[in-house]
């Protein structure tokens, strides 16, 4: 892991009226490193991304981005009105100050969507759209890639490929990734750091350590055990001490 810090959130807090959206959330983004946010619905995962991107202002805490940082973004919701005639090629090119057909083709080829370029954006399937959005995000050579549920609408086989692609291109482009994902088992394979969020940071660290953390187990259950064919004994996750088997020395545990 390189030591160049690309972006950082420190002690972020956000409320909507009486409701606490985020409390004391901190994270750091490094090149060639994948940071994944996991957590239940309404945990504030997308909001953390928006604060990092500068789309949303926090009530407290500080946001720091490297000066002139290039960011690629794949939003969670993308819907294009049918009345806007736009090909994938034009759509991708909008990321640049001036349309550059060569750069667009290059990026499309890298992500494997070259065939889709002449098609209408509205005609894409969920999986195709996610790849096109990724190809567009890569177009201006981002230093940080922010992905909000890149796996939505992607079928099971495509999902593994997509995460492998993000991982593989990480070497070539050298970008750091911050993403929100629900695909726990895949995330655990291809992530350098996991941050488990539920308004506050429940636990964070390397995937292996987090997946054994009691807070994680309380939220998600035991994914590894559920994956096994034989599952005979009963867990009470509130008091389960899986964490005892592997020491969690390298992780921060913060409570709000």
């Amino acid at each position: 892991m390189s030591t160049t810090l690309l972006a950082k959130l420190e002690h972020i807090g956000l409320n909507f009226g009486q409701r606490v959206i985020l409390h004391d959330v901190s994270l750091e983004v490094y090149p060639q490193s994948i940071l994944t946010l996991i957590g239940p619905n309404g945990a504030g995962k997308s909001t953390v991304l928006k604060i990092l991107l500068g789309l949303q202002k926090p009530d407290s805490g500080s946001v720091w981005r490297m000066p002139a940082l290039r960011v690629g973004y794949v939003p969670q919701k993308f819907h294009l009105d049918r009345l806007l005639p736009l090909t994938v090629e034009r759509f991708m090119g909008l990321n640049l100050r001036r349309h550059d057909a060569v750069a667009v083709r290059q990026s499309a080829e890298e992500v494997g969507v070259l065939d889709l370029l002449p098609q209408a954006v509205q005609s894409l399937s969920g999986g195709e759209l996610q790849r096109v959005l990724l190809a567009r995000a890569l177009l201006n050579h981002p230093q940080v890639l922010v992905l909000d549920e890149p796996g939505q609408g992607v079928d099971v086989t495509g999902l593994s490929e997509l995460y492998q692609l993000i991982n593989r291109l990480k070497q070539a482009h050298g970008y750091g990734v911050v993403m929100v994902s629900h695909d726990l088992h895949l995330v655990m394979e291809a992530t350098d750091q996991v941050l488990c969020l539920n308004q506050h940071i429940c636990c964070s660290g390397q995937p292996e350590a987090v997946s054994r953390h009691p807070e994680y187990l309380r939220l998600f259950g035991d994914v590894r055990a559920a994956g096994l064919a034989v599952y005979t004994h009963h867990h009470d996750h509130q008091h389960d001490m899986h964490g005892c088997i592997v020491p969690l020395a390298d992780e921060e545990h913060q409570h709000g």
């Binding site: 973004y73 939003p75 034009r90």
Partner: protein, 262 residues
């Protein structure tokens, strides 16, 4: 050709040029209500102009720009419940303007002319005003086309990619406000939005790119203008509704043409 017909045609063409360029974005950004609120508010400007005895054009522009700024503020504060509030602003202004006009003691006002447009009322000054505005709109729209298209596709994506979303959005909304102010005489306040929406929707049938759609919208608007004015002169029908009827007929006709992709 009679002089007044030529004048009306010239002013109408300028309006059609503007409504084509601006209307496509109204469609893409689902902002038809914005056009309605603006044009309905224009009547308040008319009333203010007549009451104070000063330049009506300036009052209408002033009211439209104020409403546009108000709407911009509302749009960026979603907590206010934008659609409802905008509807209230637009219709209140329309009602207030209408009521105020009937109380003017010494002025005989042809309300129909303001609500539905009046080709006979177009003066040389109006032609200069509409074409001046059309040139401004065209130049600025070409200038902001790319960032405006980008934010119409996805505002947050555009903002992350460096588009000054708020500024571009504000410029666009001000252009629509000014267009409404000068187009009022040709189409009237009640049906102005139709002139922004129907030609653009008709053009979608043939367009393969956003730019083509804008150009086709201008062409469709021009055809509707010619047909509508012909109708209006022949049968002595009000201009605005006649032009909108012609545009609607064109829209219906092209529905039988198979759509080109994308």
């Amino acid at each position: 050709m009679d002089d007044f017909i030529l004048r009306a045609l010239l002013a109408g063409l300028a309006v059609v040029l503007m409504s084509g360029l601006l209307g496509v974005f109204l469609l893409w950004r689902r902002m038809a209500y914005f056009g309605d609120t603006l044009s309905h508010s224009a009547l308040l400007g008319v009333a203010l102009g007549l009451m104070t005895g000063t330049s009506m054009n300036l009052w209408v522009m002033g009211v439209c720009v104020t409403v546009a700024l108000l709407m911009l503020y509302v749009q960026h504060n979603p907590a206010l419940g934008s659609d409802t509030l905008l509807s209230i602003i637009g219709h209140s202004a329309l009602a207030l303007g209408t009521v105020a006009l009937t109380f003017l003691p010494n002025v005989r006002v042809d309300l129909m002319a303001y609500l539905f447009g009046d080709i006979l009322a177009v003066t040389r000054f109006d032609i200069a005003l509409t074409w001046g505005m059309a040139v401004i709109v065209a130049v600025i729209m070409v200038w902001i086309w790319r960032p405006l298209l980008s934010l119409s596709v996805h505002a947050e994506l555009a903002q992350v990619e460096g588009v000054k979303v708020w500024r571009i959005s504000a410029i666009y909304m001000l252009l629509v406000a000014l267009m409404v102010a000068v187009a009022m005489k040709v189409v009237g306040v009640l049906l102005l939005t139709a002139l922004l929406i129907i030609p653009a929707a008709t053009a979608r049938r043939f367009a393969k790119t956003p730019e083509q759609m804008a150009v086709f919208a201008i062409v469709v608007g021009g055809l509707a203008l010619l047909a509508g004015m012909g109708l209006s002169l022949q049968l002595d029908t009000p201009t605005g509704p006649s032009i909108v009827v012609a545009a609607s007929v064109l829209f219906l006709l092209v529905q039988f043409v198979p759509q080109r992709s994308p």
